[in-house]
Amino acid sequence: MIRVVVKRLLVGVLVMWGAASLIFVIVRVAPGDPATLMLGPDAPPDQVRELTATLGLDRPMPLQYLSYLGDVVQLRFGDSYLFNRPAMAEVFERMPATAELMLASTTIAVIAGLALGLLAGGRPGGLLDRVVSGGTIALQSFPTFWTGIMLILIFALALRVLPSAGTGTPAHLVLPAITLALPFTATVARLTRTSVAETMHEQYIRTARSKGLTERQVLLGHALRNSLIPVVTIIGLHMGGLMGGAVVVENVFAWPGVGTLVVESVANRDYTVVQAATFLVAGIVMAFNLAADLVYSQLDPRIRMESAA
């Protein structure tokens, strides 16, 4: 087990190198340069050249890359052109807000998704099953920015029970968290529904019933536990998707997280911040995937990580 984890971590280092290199190339291949954007189109060319040199962007690309890799190894990403302070510090400062949003939305998605999945899977083909199945398709189909705006109009403007945007109180978290959670809720619900429906026909469920266990014990102790396996996997895999969704949701709700930071930084070609944010997010997604694998093997003893097989 430990050998497998170490092996996965080594692969992770390669993945991080790949992510860091890819983003280095992507931001530089994108048209437009930071100096012109910072100074505006009316800046004299010599001023633009001087700022380009100050930012170190006048050096040959391979040299920039080597120096960048050297810094990445030391977890240094340089100063943000826009914020005039270390890029990673800026990202770290925004990360708690994004983490808060992701944690809240994952909690909502898992709880609501499991509940809906149990409702639908407990009686496949029933009315509830059809409502939940149809509803989850709809939830997955709505674009996140549209859902967000609709929730603002309903709960902030029409009902006036929640703030429309920003941060500061727990109430501010509700609408963005729900917006981000909705498509994920649908995924969890559909997966749970299928899993529960299948599990309820397994022989061990019949055995459990024949042992005299109550239906509640059967459902929660046997069916639900086994139904959780794919759900745990999807949570791990969905972290990347949630980060992507957070970019949109944070902008709609003026939520001061990494998403808004990345959007601002990409628009302004603030390379250092984009690189730092991508690196950190790649690391987080990788960690979640690894954690999902480990939990997966713990939940289902039949599954052994490759070394144990």
Binding site: Q47, L114, I152, A156, G166, V252
Partner: protein, 510 residues
């Protein structure tokens, strides 16, 4: 219909989980709809602009509207421009130019103090100017090689390298900070000391700035207890925040949303003629567009009055000059009438190649319908146009490389002086639109050098006439900015440059 034991249990378990989910939500929520503007004398301003740093002289802050918006509340300037376009003293009580408009002497207001209580002196002004030039922001480019000295404790002298009559309005973006601050000093701007009406209470680059009154402000302590600027990129969120009372002031409201805010009895809505003009340059260096007759015919082929009436009924009016009516140098020109038949005949006579597609570039989705309407009108006379909506960075790169045939921009003018638009963008040296006319260059140089404002206006009028009749571009629309604010605010004046001053705003007790 009966329910099996399994589904009954499943139901109960599901309801339990659903309740848990609901608790997870409601446990961390309140029913309060309001956030900002909570106190009697506190207001919240919601804007689209991110405010990433507070240094208006830094390269990134110099061209950032959000930074300038806050800077004018934190720091004083020698002079500033009133909403009507005239210049008023801020730190300077009077000023005088020499006969050639190359040297300006400013007399400083006495007994001005910074927010920390220390006196503001001529040395602070001189050091701030030097710092502005050293940091080489886009604003510094207005004063390349200019020098400032302090011949006496209450005077500063600004010397230009050439006659520059626009200096006063250019100085409206020069802010004074303590002399001890040199170079980029991020630590200072975490807790800046200025002599403006407010001082910083809290700055969160992720989206909000809170200001409180500066008790040492020379013109009297502002009546507001706190001003919070919140960045809200999404229009729907800004509009909702205004209507729910979470925000007290927003602007830049599009026409299709104005009726909503107007119907709200708690809000005041006003439009103000801005310094901005929709400007659609033709790339005169392109063979197809070299002939002024071709450019003029293309202008004639678009029914701008109808397009404006349909899309901008309240915030647009047909432009009659390349600069806004609130700008120094504005002189009304003869409107170009819509006549597609005459336009097609003129294009045919000029040998225009109808098979060639023109590339019309713009940035920002808000301008898409306007440009689509133009493309549609041009197609009616057989002119083919590729409409290219570009991301800002790509747009700027292509703009400077003249990689376009027609370029759409909303050109605003924070200095309210035609020198900043006509003088800067239409000279041969500027190479901004492929147009070069030595006669125009002479007029613009003379206008920039004359200390007499009437003479400058006359000269800019002559220059505008050339730009207009040669159709260097199409100048379809003069832009108004729509402001909406909560009626509890009094003393607020909408600003034509989109940089409203809040020093005189109050919150009414009723």
């Amino acid at each position: 219909m009966t329910r099996s034991p399994a589904s009954g249990k499943a139901w109960r378990a599901a309801v339990g989980l659903a309740l848990a989910a609901a608790l997870a939500l409601t446990g961390c929520s309140t029913t309060s709809g309001g956030g900002g503007g909570s106190g009697k004398s506190e207001i919240t301003v919601a804007g689209t602009y991110p405010i990433q740093n507070l240094d208006p002289a830094s390269p990134s802050g110099g061209s950032n509207t959000g930074t300038q918006l806050v800077a004018q509340e934190l720091f004083s300037r020698l002079v500033r421009v009133r909403p009507d376009g005239t210049v008023e003293g801020d730190l300077a009580t009077e000023w005088k130019a020499n006969a050639t408009a190359s040297e300006y002497t400013f007399t400083l207001r006495k007994d001005v103090k910074f927010s920390d209580g220390s006196p503001l002196t001529a040395d602070d002004v001189v050091a701030s100017f030097k710092r502005l030039l050293d940091l080489k922001s886009t604003n510094a480019a207005n004063f390349t090689d200019y020098t400032m000295t302090a011949p006496s404790p209450d005077q500063v002298v600004l010397k230009a390298t050439k006659p520059d009559a626009a200096i006063l309005r250019k100085l409206s973006i020069f802010y004074v900070i303590p002399a001890k601050v040199t170079g980029e000093d991020p630590d200072f701007f975490k807790s800046p000391v200025g002599s403006g009406p407010f001082k910083l209470e809290k700055f969160d680059p992720s989206g909000s700035v809170a200001l409180v009154p500066n008790a040492n402000y020379y013109a009297g302590v502002p009546k507001l207890d706190r001003v919070t600027f919140r960045t809200m990129p999404e229009l729907a969120a800004r509009m909702t925040a205004l209507r729910t009372g979470e925000a007290d002031l927003i602007w830049g409201i599009p026409d299709d949303q104005l009726s909503q805010v107007k119907s709200d009895s708690n809000l005041t809505v006003e439009t103000v003629q801005s310094t901005a003009v929709f400007t659609m340059w033709f790339n005169s260096s392109e063979p197809a567009l070299r002939d002024a007759k071709v450019r003029r015919a293309l202008w004639q082929a678009v029914d701008f009055p109808t397009i404006i009436k349909q899309l901008y009924p309240e915030t647009g009016s047909l432009a009659d000059s390349p600069v806004s009516p609130v700008t120094l140098g504005y002189v009304k020109q003869q409107p170009v009438s819509y006549d597609p038949t005459a336009a097609k005949a003129a294009l045919t006579a000029a040998g225009f190649d109808f098979g060639k597609k023109l590339r019309l570039q713009f940035a920002n989705a808000e301008f898409r319908p306007f440009n689509q309407a133009i493309v549609s009108d041009l197609q009616k006379i057989g002119v083919q146009v590729d409409l290219l909506e570009k991301e800002q960075a790509v747009f700027t790169k292509d703009l400077l490389a003249l990689n376009w045939d027609v370029n759409f921009q909303q050109l605003s003018n924070p200095t309210y002086d035609a020198a900043n638009t006509l003088g800067r963008l239409y000279t041969c040296k500027a190479k901004r639109n492929g147009y070069c006319n030595p006669e125009l260059d002479k007029l613009l140089a003379a206008a920039a050098a004359s200390p007499d404002e009437k003479e400058r206006t006359r000269l800019y009028g002559e220059a505008s006439k050339i730009i207009w009749s040669d159709a260097v571009g199409m100048f379809p629309m003069a832009v108004k900015y729509a402001y909406a604010w909560n009626k509890r605010l009094t003393g607020f004046t909408p600003d034509p440059a989109g940089l409203p001053d809040l020093a005189k705003v109050q919150v009414s007790s009723s």
